[in-house]
């Protein structure tokens, strides 16, 4: 079994032609990492930023708070399990890390009507002057819990539990269909 080939299988449908071909683009992010950071209940974002400053220097990525004392640390680098273990071990006990790279999946929705598309599922006000680039929220898109992050002028990243990937993919396409 030593010559066994490992594939990291994406939960999103393989059919890339299903992506938006008109005004709306829908793109699965198949690479990168998602760490769930859990701080002791006296941890603030500034402390966490300082704590992870060393490992983040070469990892890139950003911190997105999902709850008090909890953050997702999300980046596009591909990391080995050993590297993740090293990073985890390097953190002080006030900050626990659990790898969610496989547990949470991301896709990017963009296009001029992206806010109208997301308004079909999310209550959050995503207006340009209300929801700034880089801002994130944990909320729901329809019945699916999701973290929505604004990544560009008219671009949002949606992160959901892996098991919902197919439903999310389907729903976002349906919501965007009228604009394509």
């Amino acid at each position: 079994m030593r010559d066994f080939l490992l594939h990291n299988v994406s939960p999103f449908p393989a059919d890339e032609t299903a992506n938006g071909h008109g005004n709306m683009q829908i793109r699965a992010l198949r690479d990168g990492f998602v760490f769930h950071l859990l701080g002791r209940s006296d941890t603030d974002t500034a402390t966490v930023e300082k704590t992870i400053a060393a490992p983040i220097a070469d990892l890139g990525g950003e911190l997105r708070q999902l709850a008090p004392y909890q953050w997702f640390w999300v980046g596009n680098a591909t990391l080995s399990q050993e590297r993740v273990a090293e990073i985890s071990a390097a953190l002080p006990s006030m900050l626990a890390l659990t790898d969610q790279t496989h547990g949470r999946v991301r896709l990017v929705v963009s296009g001029p009507q992206v806010r109208s598309v997301l308004a079909k599922g999310a209550m959050i006000d995503l207006a340009d002057d209300v929801f700034a680039i880089g801002q994130s929220v944990m909320t729901q898109i329809g019945h699916i819990g999701a973290m929505i992050t604004r990544t560009g002028d008219a671009e949002f990243e949606i992160m959901v539990l892996r098991s919902f990937a197919e439903s999310l993919w389907h729903e976002i396409h349906q919501m965007a269909a009228e604009f394509n």
């Binding site: 079994m1 030593r2 066994f4 080939l5 490992l6 594939h7 990291n8 299988v9 994406s10 939960p11 769930h36 859990l38 701080g39 002791r40 209940s41 004392y69 909890q70 399990q81 273990a85 006990s93 626990a96 659990t98 790898d99 969610q100 790279t101 496989h102 547990g103 949470r104 109208s116 308004a119 079909k120 999310a122 209550m123 959050i124 006000d125 207006a127 209300v130 329809g142 019945h143 699916i144 539990l161 892996r162 098991s163 919902f164 990937a165 197919e166 439903s167 999310l168 389907h170 729903e171 349906q174 919501m175 269909a177 009228e178 394509n180």
Partner: protein, 998 residues
């Protein structure tokens, strides 16, 4: 066929001819027409039959309040019953049908109910169908269902797509008449985020019926200009065809937008919603919904040809439709005289203006005969109006031949949305109507809804209200100066205003024949009088006794008149009677819009295991478990009956080795310095000393002492634990733990993260499980190095991958659960299949898993059903006596929970192997009668055991293990069967746990 179409019409486009059919007859209209205006233009006054008496009915209004003209529009899945013809836009190819008539609208057998009128009065349903009870189901209901009823829903699925959306704004403006437009423009120019919603296809509201020049322009040109400016403002969102139907709490309004309902089928974009349900979050709201004209209650007021004066004016001016050749007006207010003026201007003969006031509108200088101090007491004509009978002030009757009658009994502000949150409207004698409560926070009624009359005044009020509202939001605005100059806006000129205000005429005392209050539910003035005489004079009782206001129009044209009649008879003010409660929805909303996209496959999201694809490739049959799809069995080589597959899978695990997807089990990562202490408090058994690298079975109690869930928790490192829960309670357990951590013991350092989706987890079970896994796992799996309940990270494929391995077993076999990052799951499962090939490995599903756990006597939520304690399941000794505190500790020791007579877990099998029994069967002692007091317990789980070759079960039975070997009766009350069973040890297989520790 006579055409009633004359020239003019601000809303229609005569170059756009549209064909449609009404009850099969081919007709034509124009773009911009409603079905109602097109029918009237074609001389179709009779459009339906009434609900109870099947009386011929025509079009009464030109808007949302229409009680009569309910049609079924469209066909097959796109058929919409009970559509108000006054709101439905005409499109090419539209098919409309009358309802509530058989065999047809012109000849309706049900009209005999008109003759039976006296026995169909108020309270009819309550009085007539009381007894005998059996008659209700067999006789009365079928007859009522056949004779009455509105349109029928289609049996075909609606092919249209529907959706629900959220929207946000600073200012929501409801209604796009003069007040609403001025408010929207004012706020829009100030840069506020504005949503203006109107139920009409075009903005303008009542102004569309206006012939006056506004700011020197005809109404439609003026409206076009305003619309153009609003469209040019990016911060203004115009929602036409959108009815705001509810005012929920916290500034959230519900609305329904008819996106494509007005399009012929060929033009419908299947990717766009037919209707959209909006939830609008508004910081402030301007309510500019206007006022509803009230009918007058007199004899025969429901005859086709009788129409609201304002509606008649709308059909005339907005649609270029003449109401008839010779028209009369019966009105008690000045505003209605606008209709007379416009009719005269268009050369339509006015036979008479009948006004109950002695000193009517001094502003009227037309040529029509004017009869003051008089009323209309009766009408004549079979399917259309032929004449009216006027009662003069001297008591003399006069019959006047007319083919249309405009009526106006005053105006009721459309206060619904101001009252949905519980506030009550306030009666005003000055306005002869119920005014909106003015103290509703975040909502400003403005324009006709707050009693403002005249277009100029409404423009002003709207603009000023928007300025005031924006100040509250920190936005400064200047009133938009539009509509300052409206020719002939006599209402605005106090000098020219009427000498006498609206004189309420709740019902005409001399009315002859049926005088309708509620047209849609066929409630007459005498019904309301009867209700009063019988003691139902409270407004809510009168409503239910007479059914006034309970039809699909919710009494928009009838409620205030009914209140007026009650008030008049009691000699009090309508304000003393008060209104019934206003609740959503303002107008009917389709089920399609309420359901949105959640139907069929989209009914709810689906959760798929990372091994779903692997299971599918191996031929799995899936079963829905909550949102999850789980593989339930894997048919092989011609197996067609599920149990053939399940039996084979079970035997294969017991003899060789099997692999099962257990990824859906809940998984929770637990961190923190106090994690062990936390676990010790949430489990009833001890967890404080669980060593690193070990798993432990745990029982979680509820605070009331009963079992909540079970599962295993492993200690992966100091201050790092990994908990598994049942699939069913994965979310519930996490929520429970969060409650404990955040609410009960926030002082503990414990941090919880759901990790269910991170891992693909496989159970590998059977005598060859170790041999199989040893081929892909680098670590030593021997009993010494990796004993039962070992749990730790391992290396796979010569260091290519790291996973978590747990030596735990649900099947009772030598078994492991291996968890790897989800994306690698299907590769690892393939590798295990490959490794186990030489041992005849086969996948098994949840059915086989279920059989094996029953064979082994392991419990699930079939046993942990909310009524059992650890002791009931033979696990009483797990409950720690040493711990100071844990959830459920105190209540678990309650007297009732320690009762020796409690049913205890046992196994049960048939005395004769060929007998079968079902889950849910009750246990009786041999020879005992089937009586509750003889109940010994019940069967919680059953299956066919392929190892034993007969049915086995788990049961909760009084006396429990003490009764092993005793014969009992297994009684199935549903199937009516009695089977002799034998109570036994629930561990049917390997009771000594030799296989487990192999």
């Amino acid at each position: 066929m006579t055409s009633f179409r004359i020239d003019g019409g601000t809303s229609i486009n005569r170059d756009d001819v549209r064909q449609f059919s009404f009850n099969g007859e081919k007709l034509s209209g124009f773009g911009g027409d409603t079905v109602a205006s097109a029918l009237l233009a074609n001389g179709k006054q009779l459009v339906g039959r009434s609900f109870k008496y099947h009386r011929p009915r025509g079009i009464l209004t030109a808007g949302a309040a229409e009680p009569n003209a309910l049609l079924t529009i469209g066909r097959d899945g796109r058929r919409d019953p009970n559509t108000r013809a006054t709101m439905a836009e005409l499109f090419d190819g539209l098919e409309a049908r009358s309802q509530n008539c058989w065999p047809n609208v012109d000849f309706d057998i049900g009209a005999v109910n008109g003759v039976l009128g006296p026995i169909l009065g108020a309270g009819f349903y309550y009085k007539t169908f009381m007894w005998p009870a059996a008659f209700w189901e067999k006789v009365y209901e079928p007859i009522i269902r056949k004779a009455a009823g509105l349109g029928r829903a289609s049996y075909d699925p609606d092919p249209g797509y529907y959706e629900k959306c959220w929207a946000h704004c600073d200012l929501l403006v409801i209604g796009a008449g003069a007040a609403g437009l001025a408010a929207a423009l004012t706020a829009g120019r100030a840069g506020a985020r504005v949503i203006i919603a109107d139920e009409g296809a075009q903005l303008g509201g009542g102004m569309r019926a206006e012939r006056s020049m506004i700011d020197g322009k005809p109404a439609d040109i003026f409206l076009g200009d305003v619309m153009g400016e609003l469209i040019s403002l990016p911060n203004v969102d115009i929602k036409s065809r959108t009815t705001i139907f509810a005012n929920y709490d916290d500034g959230v309004f519900g609305g329904v937008e008819r996106v494509q309902k007005h399009l012929p089928e060929a033009e419908i974009n299947p990717n766009r919603a037919m209707e959209r349900l909006w939830r609008i979050v508004a910081k402030h709201t301007i309510l500019a919904t206007g006022a509803e004209e009230r009918p007058i209650v007199f004899g025969g007021n429901d005859r086709p040809g009788v129409m609201m004066a304002g509606a008649m004016r709308t059909y005339l001016n907005a649609y270029g439709v003449a109401p008839g050749k010779r028209v009369a007006l019966f009105a008690n207010n000045d505003q209605a005289y606008d209709t007379a003026r416009d009719l005269e201007e268009r050369g339509i003969e006015i036979a008479a203006i009948i006004d109950p006031r002695t000193c009517p509108d001094v502003g009227y200088h037309g040529s029509a005969r004017h009869i003051a101090g008089a009323v209309v007491r009766d009408t004549a004509g079979r399917k259309g109006l032929k004449s009216i009978t006027v009662r003069h002030d001297d008591g003399r009757d006069e019959v006047i031949a007319v083919d249309a009658l405009a009526i106006s009994g005053g105006y009721s502000p459309i206060v619904h949305l101001a009252c949905h949150r519980g506030a009550r409207p306030v009666w005003s004698d000055d306005h002869a109507g119920f005014m909106p409560p003015m103290d509703a926070d975040g909502l400003t009624p403005v324009g006709a809804v707050s009693g403002v009359r005249g277009i100029v005044a409404c423009f002003n009020a709207g603009a000023n209200a928007a300025c005031d509202a924006l100040v509250g939001l920190g936005i400064s605005a200047r009133p938009a100066l539009i509509g300052a100059d409206v020719a002939g806006d006599h209402v605005n000129d106090p000098e020219a205003a009427g000498a006498q205000d609206t004189l309420p005429v709740w019902s005409v005392p001399s009315a002859r024949g049926k005088a309708f209050v509620d047209f849609q539910n066929d409630v007459t003035a005498s019904d309301i009088n009867l209700a009063m005489r019988e003691g139902y004079d409270h407004v809510e009782l009168a409503k239910r006794y007479t059914t006034n206001g309970m039809a699909t129009d919710q009494g928009k044209t009838s409620n205030v008149n009914a209140i007026g009649i009650l008030a008049e008879n009691k000699g009090v003010s309508p304000g003393d009677i008060g209104t019934t409660t206003f609740r959503p929805f303002y107008t009917p909303v389709s089920f399609g819009a309420l359901v949105g996209a959640s139907k069929g496959f989209e009914f709810q999201p689906v959760r798929k295991s990372p091994l779903h694809g692997w299971a599918a490739r191996n031929g799995a049959k899936f079963v829905e478990t909550g949102l999850w799809y789980r593989s339930s069995w894997f048919p092989k080589g011609g197996e067609t009956f599920w149990r053939d597959s399940v039996d084979r899978e079970v035997l294969n695990v017991r003899t060789n080795v099997g692999i099962c997807d257990v990824s859906t089990l809940g998984k929770i990562e637990i961190f923190g310095a106090d994690a062990a202490e936390f676990l010790n408090r949430v489990y009833c058994n001890a967890f404080l000393k669980l060593p690193v690298g070990k798993a432990r079975y745990g029982l979680m109690l509820r605070e009331d002492g009963f079992i909540y869930d079970d599962g295993t928790t492993s200690c992966l490192a100091e201050n790092h634990y990994f908990m598994t829960t049942t699939t069913a309670l994965a979310a519930g357990v996490l929520t429970h733990l969060e409650f404990c951590a955040q609410v009960l013991w926030p002082e503990l350092d414990v941090r919880l993260a759901s990790a269910t989706d991170q891992w693909a987890q496989m159970a590998v079970a059977g005598p060859k499980a170790r041999a199989t896994l040893a081929k892909i796992i680098d670590d030593d799996l021997g009993n010494e190095a990796f004993p039962f309940l070992a749990a730790r990270e391992v290396s796979l494929f010569g260091g290519k991958l790291r996973g978590r391995l747990f030596r735990i077993s649900f099947s009772g076999e030598l078994a492991y659960e291996i968890a790897v990052p989800a994306g690698y799951g299907s590769c690892v499962a393939d590798a295990i299949m490959e490794a186990g090939k030489e041992f005849d490995i086969a996948p098994y599903g949840t059915e086989a898993l279920g059989v094996m756990r029953i064979e082994k006597g392991h419990v699930t939520h079939a046993e942990i059903n909310g009524t059992v304690t650890p002791a009931d399941l033979g696990m009483g000794r797990m409950v720690s006596a040493k711990k100071d505190d844990f959830i459920g500790r105190v209540m678990n020791k309650r007297e009732g929970l320690l009762d020796a007579a409690r049913p205890l877990l046992v196994g049960i099998k048939p005395k004769s192997p060929s007998d079968r029994f079902a889950t849910g069967s009750h246990i009786l002692n041999v020879g005992a009668d089937v009586r509750l007091e003889n109940d010994q317990g019940y069967v919680t789980s059953t299956c066919h055991s392929p190892n034993l070759g007969h049915t086995i079960g788990l049961a909760l039975i009084k006396g429990g293990p003490e009764r092993y070997g005793e014969e009992v009766v297994i009684w199935n009350g549903l199937a009516g069967t009695h089977v002799t069973g034998v109570i036994c040890n629930p561990a049917f297989v390997d009771p000594e746990n030799e296989k487990l520790h192999a």
